[in-house]
């Protein structure tokens, strides 16, 4: 509605079909890609719950039979068809199909089959929720002797106790209506087989909070990941182009109970899984990594594995982004969409995202600008309130939507083909050592912090060692293997690691630019003090690190929250709930350079004549040069997209695959 009224210019990740239809009919620019996105229902699988619920003798969610039974009670296709008309698609694995070669097509999908609580059949013959529960030793109790399933009925655990109250943390309707409705829909199916706890059966079974109100997303995800204090929860994650997040979610070294803020909230501790995850994370052999990734997905879905199904994967989604029709320069990236912002989700700190391109390139059609006080403004919808602005502790996608505009990585991602793109680092080099690897980054010498201090290798060293020395929990997978960071010269530094991993190279490329020394280079009383610091609470020039004076461009920075990126945080108004970021007038790239970069990157995927659209003209030109090698009179370097000196089928296929793609929309 706000879009149609012109109060908002951009809303991303729309999931309500009628919204899309209305916006499309009204002439808004709509872009679509499949998404690097996952939603799952997660369980606390620790058999010993004495740390939070000492009254529990038997914890059903620690029993794979119970979790397996629940997996068959969730009618993913039915619910998603009714609620989102398949903008959200059913998911059977912890890796979405959009991650293509990493996705395992053979994972058991545990189809919807609730079964009959009154039957006497058992799994595996009766492969239903009720059949699996009976196989696991659970017994249905027809409490009111009605011969029918009513709200009084419940199940007994194998030890004879009634099922305990198991609360599912879900967002409130006001916070995320669709997810709230999805859980209510699952509730209805669980009611039908006596598994839903309610006031009439003594809260025996799964349930929402008693009022079925739900919670703030950022509140309950903090209970889950910071305190491991939960029974079950629903969450969605924005993912990146690689599945190394599986290590962070399921490796025993990342347990949230031992390391608050880490991502294995489920308490999975499985040596078989650990070995596979270590291969996925640390191997440098691509085939070995994809094989390990496939096996991880199978093992997590295999009910023969006692630690299987710590999550029930629920859905992944297509990304529909909508823009005011007077906006130009929207860059669509497969998997990532054309922009971020409206998604109530968590975001893992796991490497660079390519979404920077829309933000750098978006502009108003001349004559149709939204202008306030002489400045052109674009109003972007943010789906949730930011929880805090500390880049060491913030976890929600809403906060990172803002932080990402300020923080630039050393390496970014080519939006059209997802290859690495040099950014603050011009180049990098990996050398394997007997104990791990050394990664040397060569930085540009024309990058400055937004307050005017030059960004150098000393800043990168400080940031990486700070995160390691203060054991910042959410970055544990990235710092746990750093042995040393060595500055070679002001624009070259080497990270020495006691492990090899392709993914660590990207993690460090993000973390190296996180913390300006002029703010963070001080003695902190504790690791907690580091996490609790709010850089936006201090106007720039106050509370600086000892020995630092305000930088030459301090006037354009308003608080101690800043980075090297294209936008500068001004303020967040928590009452009216909006946040302004201003363009960085001292950014290291000119608008012309940004244009040139986009044109070259789009050429790499088949735009022979660099006219911003890949069409039959490009195909014809490539066909003319087909089969020609360097030195041949017919060789045309503009048709050799992969620059291997030979215009061959790969170049033709590159062009054909991207046919009708546009460099920017509309």
């Amino acid at each position: 509605m706000e879009m149609l009224l012109g109060e908002i210019d951009v809303t991303t990740q729309l999931t309500e079909p009628s919204d899309l239809e209305d916006l499309h009919a009204a002439g808004f620019t709509i872009t679509q890609t499949t998404g690097f996105h996952i939603c799952f229902i997660g369980f606390n699988t620790r058999a010993d719950q004495t740390y939070r619920r000492p009254e529990i003798d038997f914890w059903p969610l620690a029993d794979v039979n119970f979790r397996h039974a629940l997996a068959h009670s969730l009618d993913k296709p039915g619910i998603l068809a009714a609620i989102s008309r398949f903008i959200k698609s059913p998911l059977d694995s912890n890796v979405p199909p959009s991650l293509s070669r990493w996705y395992n097509w053979g994972v058991d999908d545990h189809p919807f089959n609730p079964g009959d609580p009154f039957a006497n059949t058992f799994y595996p013959e009766d492969h239903s929720t009720c059949g699996i529960l009976r196989y696991g030793g659970y017994q249905f109790v027809d409490a009111d002797y009605s011969g029918d399933v009513t709200r009084e009925d419940y199940w007994l655990c194998p030890n004879g106790d009634p099922l305990p109250y198991m609360e599912i943390y879900a967002p409130s309707g006001n916070n995320d209506m669709q997810k709230h409705v999805l859980i209510l829909s699952w509730r209805n199916d669980l009611y039908d087989i006596g598994l839903w706890g309610n006031s009439q059966n003594g809260w025996r079974g799964l349930s929402l909070d008693p009022g079925e109100q739900g919670y703030e997303f950022r509140t309950y995800t903090s209970w889950v990941y910071d305190d491991a204090d939960f029974d079950a929860f629903i969450v969605n994650f924005k993912l990146n182009r690689f599945p190394d997040y599986l290590y962070d979610w399921f490796h025993s070294s990342q347990d949230s109970l031992a390391f608050p803020g880490a991502y294995n909230a489920f308490g999975v501790n499985d040596p078989t899984l650990d070995a596979l995850l270590e291969t996925l994370k640390f191997s440098l052999d691509h085939t070995e990594k994809t094989q390990a990734c496939n096996e991880v997905q199978e093992w997590l879905a295999n009910p023969e594995n006692p630690q299987a199904l710590p999550t029930i994967p629920f859905y992944w989604k297509s990304l529909f982004d909508s823009f005011n029709s007077d906006l130009r320069g929207i860059v669509r990236s497969p998997g990532f969409g054309a922009g971020e912002g409206s998604c109530v989700a968590l975001k893992e700190p796991d490497g660079p995202m390519p979404s920077v391109w829309t933000y750098l390139n978006i502009r108003w059609q001349p004559g149709y600008e939204r202008i306030e006080a002489g400045r052109t403004v674009v109003i972007w919808c943010l789906g949730d309130e930011p929880e805090n602005f500390n880049p060491l502790s913030a976890g929600t996608a809403a906060t990172w939507e803002i932080l990402d505009r300020m923080l630039d990585p050393l390496i970014t991602v080519q939006p059209f083909n997802h290859e690495d793109e040099p950014w603050l680092a011009e180049d990098w080099e990996v050398i394997q050592t007997p104990t791990g690897m050394n990664v040397t980054y060569y930085l540009r010498d024309d990058v400055d912090w937004q307050d005017g201090y030059q960004f150098t290798a000393y800043d990168a060293e400080f940031s990486l060692e700070f995160i390691r020395d203060y054991h910042v929990p959410k970055y544990r997978p990235a710092w746990q293997n750093i042995s040393d960071v060595e500055v070679i010269d002001p624009f070259t530094f080497t990270v020495q690691s006691n492990a090899t991993s392709q993914f660590l190279i990207y993690d460090w490329a993000v973390l190296a630019t996180l913390l300006p020394r002029q703010i963070w280079d001080r003695a902190w009383p504790s690791g907690q003090a580091v996490l609790d610091y709010d850089p936006t609470a201090h106007p720039y020039g106050t509370d600086m690190a000892p020995g630092y004076a305000p930088g030459p461009w301090g006037g354009q920075v308003t608080t101690n929250l800043f980075g090297t990126g294209p936008f500068i945080f001004q303020y967040y108004d928590p009452v009216n709930m909006y946040c302004d970021l201003w363009a960085n007038e001292h950014y290291f790239l000119t608008t012309q350079e940004i244009d040139d970069l986009l044109t070259e990157m789009f050429w790499e995927v088949g735009d022979y004549n660099r006219d911003g659209i890949i069409n039959v003209v490009d195909l014809v030109y490539v066909s003319f040069a087909y089969g020609c090698m360097v030195g041949d009179p017919c060789y045309d370097p503009d048709a050799d997209f992969n620059q291997d000196g030979w215009v061959d089928m790969r170049d033709l296929a590159t062009c054909a695959y991207h046919l009708l793609w546009q460099k920017e929309y509309p």
Partner: protein, 61 residues
Amino acid sequence: MKRIAYLALVSLTLLVLLTSMTLAQTGPKIDVLRYEVLRNPSFDFYPPWKCYLVKSMSQLS
């Protein structure tokens, strides 16, 4: 004559320099990026009955 030519050359150089500095705008192409928190952007369109689309509560008991 020489002086005029010299002045013209200096003026022209300055003009070119100033123009190129103006044109070499850095960074993004908009001045302000504003985020407005609009929870549940779909909420306005969401008919309440849809909450119970799959199965209504009355069907349960």
